[in-house]
């Protein structure tokens, strides 16, 4: 039986260690972003699961702006990964620029969704951002947890 998502088309899960996944892309904020769907329990994956994912994707834009809000809040703490990345960025090519320009330079690099982790795996959506002007400086990762909401990863990551 083929399961089809309104957003992702036909769902084709590939097995791996600890679950299955599917790679795709989404249109978000005017550009295409790599998207990975991770399923912990592929044997339970059904129409209801697809419906749930579609409703989550319907609300993804709004969730993503909460994620950006979380990064902006992170800039108010000196020790956060956002502040650290800001300092690296300013030390590089942008010494005269500030938070607003920094935030404007951040672009969404990747999105991951993990709908069926249950209480064991509470991350549902993960957003990874890099600086458009200097992607090599690393990524800020915002993990949106069920049910507490978005958290800024304290470490600047290379991948998510």
């Amino acid at each position: 039986m083929t399961l089809e998502s309104r957003h992702l088309g036909v769902i084709d899960l590939r097995g791996g260690v600890g679950g299955s996944s599917m790679d795709s892309s989404l249109e978000l904020g005017g550009s295409h972003v790599p998207f990975r769907l991770e399923i912990d329990h592929p044997q339970r994956f059904d129409e209801t699961a697809v419906k749930t994912i579609d409703f989550a994707l319907d609300g993804l834009a709004r969730l993503e702006s909460s994620a950006r809000q979380t990064i902006a809040s992170g800039l108010r703490r000196e020790s956060s990964s956002a502040s650290t990345l800001l300092r690296s960025w300013k030390a590089g090519a942008n010494p005269d620029d500030d938070s607003l320009e920094f935030l404007a330079d951040l672009r969404l690099a990747q999105v991951k969704m993990l709908p069926d982790g249950g209480r064991a795996q509470r991350e549902r959506v993960v957003f990874a951002y890099e600086l458009a002007s200097s992607p090599a400086l690393g990524r800020l990762v915002v993990r949106v947890l069920e049910p507490t909401g978005p958290e800024l990863d304290p470490i600047i990551r290379r991948t998510i």
Binding site: F55, G59, V144, P147
Partner: protein, 445 residues
């Protein structure tokens, strides 16, 4: 500390927590920013249901457009959860506080204290009645005359038995009222504990907090079991009841043992809202069974005591005991004026003491001192009817006994006057009093 009076708000919180749990089990959590909505995973604001309000009412409608994942409003499920909690808890919200038992408890205790230890002259005597009874007995021994034999038999020996019996019934009544006075505050505490635990467990479950859930669930000891057994034990080991004798004390002692044998544990457990609410239902049921068992034991004690009054009235009411034939001043009679005076005087004093006891005992409460929902314990009337029956028997037996004892005193005085020929009609008086003595006043059962 949460108290019984806080229960309505505990129940409101429980309803909200149960509904939150129901939604959480389907992955709908309170949105991390908009706490008046359930959102998918707690994070997708565009897929949301309305939460109940602060009173736990309403909620369940999908918000923001025509999306519905499951096709219909959650409101009927919310109503059904609220209804379940209401049905489980509402009988427990109108429990008595036991204060109305204080008056009859004190009255029966005070009466028992006036009776003191009144067992016959051969046993250790304590209290005015017993001492005077001993004095009268001693004085009678110093009077020569066949009439002293039946008189001693009824007005000394049987009288002591009757006072033991009525005093025993006062102790039985006191046990009932002390138990009831202690029971209901304990039941209120136990209900509060169970509801607070359930609310806390549901809240922890809804919020996904593993450790808090672990702390909230578990076994509790129902305090009502120990407290009621202890209240009866206190009555039976304190004061006059501690060394009194008589079959009614044995009846009360049996009740105490039965109460101590009841075991009282209940559990709140479950890993979903259905399990937790079901365990609350079971726990309240268990509590109710314990109350039922306790009230059945108390009613059994009261009914058994009443049974003795009805089946052996001569042992509980002096009027029901017929004195063997009273010969008056016949045969060899020698009466020492001093001894005669000792008898008459002490009988008069005894009448005062008995009247005092009667005043203290007073009457049964007009209405049930522990009214509660009809589904709880022994029903809306608890042990009230059984207690009233015994109370009425004790009250009327005491009044009859006092009247009969007064006739006995009159009979003795008339006999003495007859002997000394101080009264022309003394002989006739003795005969008519002896005849009246045989009559037994009809007593209600």
């Amino acid at each position: 500390m949460t108290s019984y009076e806080d229960l309505p708000s505990v129940i409101t919180d429980m309803k909200i927590a149960a509904i939150d749990s129901f939604m959480a089990e389907q992955n709908w959590f309170t949105h991390f920013e908009h706490t008046d909505e359930y959102a998918l995973w707690g994070i997708i604001a565009t897929a949301a249901y309305r939460r109940p309000d602060a009173n736990g009412d309403g909620g369940g409608e999908p918000i923001d457009g025509a999306w519905t994942v499951w096709g219909e409003s959650m409101a009927p499920s919310f109503d059904s959860i609220r209804g379940w909690i209401h049905d489980l808890t509402s009988p427990w919200l109108s429990l008595p506080d036991g204060d109305a038992c204080d008056t009859p408890c004190q009255a029966t205790e005070a009466a028992a204290n006036v009776f003191g230890l009144s067992s016959g002259p051969t046993a250790a005597a304590n209290g005015d009645i017993a001492r005077r009874n001993q004095t009268i007995s001693d004085a009678l021994m110093l009077i020569d005359g066949a009439f002293t034999v039946p008189f001693q038999n009824k007005y000394i020996l049987q009288f002591a038995t009757v006072i033991d019996g009525i005093s025993g019934s006062a102790t039985v009544l006191q046990s009932n009222y002390a138990a009831q006075a202690a029971m209901w505050p304990a039941v209120r505490d136990d209900v509060t504990t169970l509801l607070v635990k359930t609310r806390d467990a549901l809240r922890a479950h809804a919020d996904g907090l593993g450790e808090e859930l672990g702390a909230a669930v578990g076994s509790i000891t129902l305090t009502v079991v120990m407290i009621v057994a202890g209240a009866v034990a206190t009555v039976l080991t304190a004061g006059t009841a501690a060394v009194a004798v008589g079959v009614l004390l044995t009846v009360a002692g049996g009740a105490q043992l039965a109460l101590e044998a009841i075991d009282g544990q209940a559990e709140i457990e479950g890993d979903d809202y259905v399990g937790l609410l079901t365990s609350l239902g079971d726990a309240l049921s268990r509590l109710n069974s314990r109350i039922r068992e306790q009230e059945d034991i108390l009613a059994g004690m009261l009914n058994e005591a009443s049974g003795y009054f009805l089946s052996d009235p001569g042992a509980y009411n002096l009027d029901a005991f017929v004195m063997p034939d009273y010969p008056g001043v016949t045969g060899t009679v020698t009466i020492d004026q001093t001894q005669a005076y000792r008898v008459s005087f002490n009988m008069e004093e005894t009448i005062s003491t008995l009247t005092e006891a009667s005043g203290k005992l007073a009457s049964a409460p007009d209405s049930n001192p522990t009214p509660r929902d009809g589904s709880i314990g022994r029903g809306a009337n608890g042990t009230h009817y059984s207690a009233v029956q015994l109370y009425n028997l004790a009250e009327s037996s005491l009044l009859s006994t006092i009247a009969e004892y007064g006739r006995g005193r009159d009979l003795f005085d008339a006999t003495v006057r007859d002997f000394f020929d101080t009264d022309a009609d003394a002989s006739a008086t003795v005969n008519s009093l002896a005849a009246a003595e045989v009559l037994v006043e009809e007593m209600g059962g």
